[in-house]
Structures are given as C-alpha cells and as structure tokens.
Subunit: 329 residues, 2 copies
C-alpha cells in the first residue's frame, strides 16, 4: 500500500503539499494540485486513517454497544444511528454484550482505546460501576433506553406508555388485568412499566391480585410460562393481560390459544414494542410503537452535538410513541 511519501516523490513535491491537496487546506497552486491529483488517481492511493487520527485525534468512528445484536429493537436502533452518522462520514464500530453486564465496561474501555469519537450505549440494566466508568472515560457519550442522571439520554416514556395501554383496557371495561413484566433491575422496562401498570390500576380503584403479576425474561417461552402461571394460580381469572414486550405477549397468546380460550373474547392482550410480528400474528396485537429508528437518529444527533463541543450537561430527549390498537383487545 502506497504512502504519502511515495505520492510526494512521484509528484515531485513535499509530503506537506500532498497533505494539503488531500485535505483541501492551505494554498496550493492549481498546477501542482493537478499534478498531485493525477498521481493519486494513478496509484489508487488512499491515505491511512490510522496515521491521520494519530495526529488529529479524530477517528470518525462511533462505538455502539448493544445488549443483543440480532433483535428487532437493536437493528432498528442501529439503522437510525447509521442513517445520521453515515451522512456525516462517521462509521460504526459495533459491540455486543449479549446481555452480560460486565461486557459493557469492557467494551467501553476497548472503544476508548480505539479512540472512537463517541459512544452510544443501549443497555438493559445499569450499575454504579458502569456509571463511574462512563464518567471516568470522559468520552462523548449518549445513553439510550435507560436514564443516567447527569448524562445525555435518549429515553422512552415507559411509564406513560404503559399507563396508556392499561387505561385503554380499563376504558374497554376490563377490571381484572394481569401483568407480565421483567426484572426491575432493568429500570425502564422492568421498573417503570410495572409502576405504570400499578398506578393506573390504583387510580381506577381496581384491585390487583398477587398472582396476576408475573416476571419473565425477554423471550416467548417465558411469556408462555408466565401466562400459564397467571391462569393456573389465580382463583379470580383476569380478563386482560399486558406484557412489557411483544415477545412476552406472543408467548402468552400461545398459551391462551392452546388451552382453547379466545382472544380477545376470553382474554384481551397487549404487548409493547411494535415488532413486525405483532402486526401479523393472529389476532393482531395491540402494542406500543416506540420508534427505535427515531431513538437511533436522536442519539446520533445528540452525540454529534456533544462531539462538536456543545455543552456536556444532562440532556434528555424523550422519543414519542404511538399506541397501536389492534384486534387483540
């Protein structure tokens, strides 16, 4: 691979001059410029970004840390991020924690060592250690999906979105509503959504039986099991159920169908996330569209602002959501 030195020699100029035509900076006579450009063309020379960033301290790459690589949420998010970043000539360095919390810190350091210009972190749960590390590294940073105070955040209104769903169910006449959640260590999905459920029920003076609240993990099987638990262990069967993700909801639907109950006739059900599946499953699932692409775009824009020296204070951008009412309720 050729270097700037070779180009300089071939064009009979100094490396300085070559650098100048490469970056369109400083004065270069038209004649010399042409000559250099010609040599570059001929040789197919491509400057080393590596060497360049060693000098300039800019890499034009953004690190993205994902909790899971092949989920619809992640890919929609990355899609949004890439959309705004690509336009500005930034590349994405992708890392995947596979839901292992320690990996977040590991990757944060790794990204730093690679001198990324900034990082976007999509985490399911955050701990103190992680927060410390983020502050310590002093790198332009945006958190998406969870909120860390003092830092730029792109968040969803998990609390209100859940309330909207529960209230809709209540408006439709349901009084006995079950809830399938996840671990509350996941503050956004686990804690806030559960809180939304509980408060909405409370405000409407609706009692909640203990067996109506179940906790799963992020997959269908788990939704299936939770639904089974709810139906098997409740004296007082609920007439509706809201799950904090579509996958949980779809798993629950499977159990409901399996035991011969009808949706929404016997049990109404709603999910959250607006997965593609939710639209095609039968019956179509009522859900919340959090527009992860928007979140990605917003996170990327926010990060670029930080990189370009705008204040590094806490910023919170809340992404709009839409309630999609479909036949499952």
């Amino acid at each position: 691979m050729s270097t700037i030195k070779e180009i300089a020699e071939r064009a009979n100029v100094s490396r300085t001059t070559v650098s100048r035509v490469l970056n369109n900076s400083g004065y270069v006579s038209e004649e010399v410029k042409k000559r250099v450009l010609k040599v570059i063309e001929e040789t197919g020379y491509v400057p080393s970004e590596n060497a360049k960033s060693l000098r300039t301290k800019k890499t034009k790459v953004i690190g993205v840390i994902l909790p899971k690589i092949s989920t619809e949420t992640s890919s929609r998010l990355v899609n949004g991020i890439d959309e705004v970043l690509a336009e500005k000539g930034y590349q994405i360095l992708l890392t995947n924690t596979n839901l292992i919390p320690e990996k977040e810190i590991e990757f944060l350091r790794l990204l730093k060592s690679r001198h990324v210009d900034g990082v976007i972190l999509s985490a399911t749960n955050i701990n103190e250690q992680l927060v410390d590390e983020i502050y310590r590294l002093k790198i332009p940073f945006v958190m998406v999906g969870q909120r860390i105070s003092g830092l730029p955040n792109v968040v969803f209104d998990d609390y209100q979105a859940t309330r909207d769903i529960v209230n809709l169910l209540i408006k439709k006449g349901h009084k006995k509503i079950a809830f399938i959640g996840v671990d509350e260590k996941d503050h956004a999905v686990g804690y806030l959504r559960k809180l939304g459920f509980i408060e909405s029920m409370k405000e409407s003076h609706l009692p909640i039986e203990k067996s109506w609240i179940q906790k799963g993990i992020f997959d269908m099987k788990s939704g299936y099991n939770c639904m089974k638990l709810i139906l098997d262990s409740s004296q007082n069967k609920p007439t509706a159920v809201v799950a904090v993700t579509d996958r949980l909801a779809i798993g629950a639907m499977q159990y409901i169908k399996e035991i011969g109950l009808s949706i929404p006739g016997d049990i109404a059900i709603a999910g959250m996330g607006a997965s593609e599946l939710s639209k095609f499953i039968s019956p179509p699932l009522t859900t919340i569209d959090f527009s992860f692409e928007d979140a990605g775009r917003e996170a990327a824009s926010l990060l670029l602002e930080k990189i370009n020296g705008h204040d590094y204070h806490e910023t919170i951008r809340t992404i709009k959501y839409r309630l999609l009412e479909r036949d499952s309720i």
Copy 2:
C-alpha cells in the same frame, strides 16, 4: 488520556519496558513488572490501539458490508460473524449500502483506508467493477451469499433449495405452480432460484404459463402485487406458488386471503428464508431455513484463516439448509 511515556516516567523505566509488560513479550524482571502494572492500574491507562496498529499493521477490526442493516437476514448474519470474531478479540466495523451498488466500492476503499484486517461482504448483486476493486485492494476477503470465482465464498445452495420446494409441491399433487422472483442481476436469489424452479418443472414435464412468473422486489407490498398479477392475468389459475423470500410470500398470502381464497385449500404457498414471521403467520409458512448465523460463523472463520496466512485461493463453503414444511402447503 495518558500515554506510555507517562507510565514509563511514573514507574521509572523506559517506554520499551512498559511496552514489554503490556504485551507480555521479552524479559522483564518480576519486580519491575509489578511496579509497572501498579502504575497502569492506578492511572487507568489504556494503550492507544491506533498508535499500536500504525506500527504493527494489525487493527483487529473486520469490516462488514451489508446491503441493508435492519433485516432479519443481516442481523442473523452479523450475529454469527460477531460470535466467532469476538472470541478472537476482533471488532466489527459496520457499513450499510442500503442496496446502492456504488456504495460497495466506496466502503471497500474506506475499510481499506481504515486498515481493517479483513472484510466480509454480503451483497445482493455484484458487478465487474466491484470484483476488480476487490482484487486490487488485496485485502483478506470473504464474500457471502453470492459467488465470485477465485475468491473465498460462503454460499447457499439456492438452486437446490428451490428445487426441493418445488418438488415437494409436485409430490403433493400440484401441477400448476406459479413463481414470484426478483431481478436476475441478483445471481443467487434472482437467477439461481428461478432456474431451480424452471428446471424442476421441466423435469416433471409440467408446463409453465408465462403469467405465472412474476418479478418483485424485497418487500411484502411487492409480493402482494405479484400475486394479484398472477391471479388476475392467468386464464389457467395456479394451485400453488413459491416466492423467493418470505416477505414476498407473506405479501402474496395477504392478497390471497383478501380475495377470499383459502390457504392451502385453494392455493398452496411457500417462501424462503425462515423469517420469524413465517412461523407465526397464519397459516404457518412452508419455507427454507438457510441458517444465516452459520453463514456468518463460517464467513468469519474463513476470513480468520485467510488473515492467518493460509492460502488465498478460491474456497467455497456451502451452508446447509433445512426445508421447513408447514401448514401453508
């Protein structure tokens, strides 16, 4: 951010020595080693990968070029790639062509300029210019999904997979089978799958009406339109249809249902790709599971072999597929 120089000063040794303990190379006395390690610990020093790779010519990053970032195919592929790469300490630099062919060449150059150790390209159609560029860049390279002779390829048996589906339909008694394909410039999905269809029909001495073959693009709407065309313009209505992707098939199903025909009663239908949707749609769609994760893993392994100096000759790895027979036929 601290540098090796600072660490050296603090530990009262030379940079050489620090480098040696960092890389566990050469002799360093236990005592000195401990001292250096302690300083590193205290300062939270992380070596600059950038500077390192400028010297060593290795970056430990692999470029991945995708035709589309948020498709199930892409994310399953990237998942497989990441699985084997992460284990070996490699990172992924992600680029997305959004199906714009010129971007492939652009990104190839960009990845080269970033000194990635290798690149994996998942392309939908390839042209001569692209092939030239790949050869010119002389970078460890693996192509997935399409075959380029002379290079390492990870491919699917598009031809045989399609034949399997068509033959299954024929075995079930269908004699009038329609086909929804894509542009043949996409050699794997467009050309080979169509060829498989035509040859299977031919071997069974089954005629194909011209209106039974339609060409769409990669989305549901297009499948819907193709199905409409097939049914509207055929005197002789087919009793089965095979689509080259699940999305096309699902779009087709929508039209079939819309006009009140039953699946598989009136028309049997099969897709390809084994999307998650195919399993949950009603009725569940017969399809081919190409196991894109395997393809990703295989591509990454193959690339690693190339990087580690094993011959750079043509290698073809064909990924196994499974025919998933479900209620849609």
